[in-house]
């Protein structure tokens, strides 16, 4: 039984260590891709849409409404 506990602890320690290294290595894209002539904003938090489908249907709907209003005018 001790070997199971040891393996579980070691796996968590290894994961924590790698997690720290990865978080130190990796930066958000809006930081990496920005340079003196290009500024990128934080894109926000929910990039997958309200239903997590990858489609931002709220924006799609508002864009459709805008197009209809433009056509009417």
């Amino acid at each position: 039984m001790n070997i199971i506990v040891t393996a579980v602890v070691v796996s968590f320690l290894l994961a924590a260590g790698v997690g720290l290294i990865l978080s130190a290595m990796q930066k958000p894209v809006y930081e990496v891709q920005a340079f003196p002539t290009v500024r990128l904003d934080d894109p926000g938090h929910n990039l997958v849409g309200p239903d997590w489908s990858g489609l931002n249907r709220v924006n799609e709907t508002s864009a459709k409404v805008s197009r209809v209003n433009e056509a009417r005018n």
Partner: protein
Amino acid sequence: MPLRSRALAAGFAALIVLFSASALAQQDRDASPNPTAQSVQEQQLLQELRRIEGRVTIPDSRAGILEQPQGREYQAFHERVLPWLGAIVIVAMLAALVIFYLVRGPIRLERPPSRIKIKRFTLLERFTHWLTATSFIVLAITGLNYVFGKRLLMPLTGPDAFATWSLWAKYLHNAFAWPFLLGLLLMAVLWLRDNIPDRYDLEWLKQFGGFLSNRHPPARRFNAGQKLIFWSVVLGGLALTASGIVLLFPAVADIGGIHIAQYVHAVSGVIMTAIMLAHIYIGTIGMEGAIDAMVSGEVDLEWAKEHHRAWVEEEQARTPDGPQLRKGAVPAE
């Protein structure tokens, strides 16, 4: 016609002419050429070029890609094919295991235990097994969250709690990939030689390991079923690792490569999860005495003879004085 009537008639005529002119002018305006209507449409561009892209000034040139069919194909896979495929594979495996348990029950020893122990796995082997197992369980739970979380969990927890959990699940998934890789490599080195196919495997497979007939076909250290598990873990684990590294460091591939990595990672993960369910079943409630091998490292000699007869004979032939046995113990035969 009186003068008044003439004046009214002339007024009506003037109004009609005025309305007609206005209508004609409107018609002319509607018929005037629309410059944007004649321009190339988005769909035409996509069909011709297979990709709509522009130029960007940031270092990542892939950000200039506006639209490409592969993105839609991947979304269709991720949103429709994968959840169904995953559900069918995993539920089918669970159903098969439940039916097997109800029909066959646990595989018990046919003869009473001998009370003599034989060493089956070393400390390093057991450590490697549990290191890989712990990592895989975390990876499987957090990985399945990608596929099923928003469908099964989010309705229960609400979007905010689900978003927080998913963020941590992503961190855990990325971090536990590395102890899993370490365990995978150790496992491959430690057990590769014992998992090379041999002359016993075909007969073992023909008899389905004796699981249904109570006849135990001979096997060396690992039987054909265990070898299938081993190769599934090694090959599936390598596919998961290679595709996972591409996903973790997406700069190493273009968008097509990232999509291929997603397909490979998702399908391998779902299949491996189903295979591991079978492995966990047979290693715990499915077979009496099997769990001892990975907990204490020792199994009862009678268990070893029933399930790995050729291996026991090899071990006893290699050590005729019985150093495999505990001090003071006598071989059963």
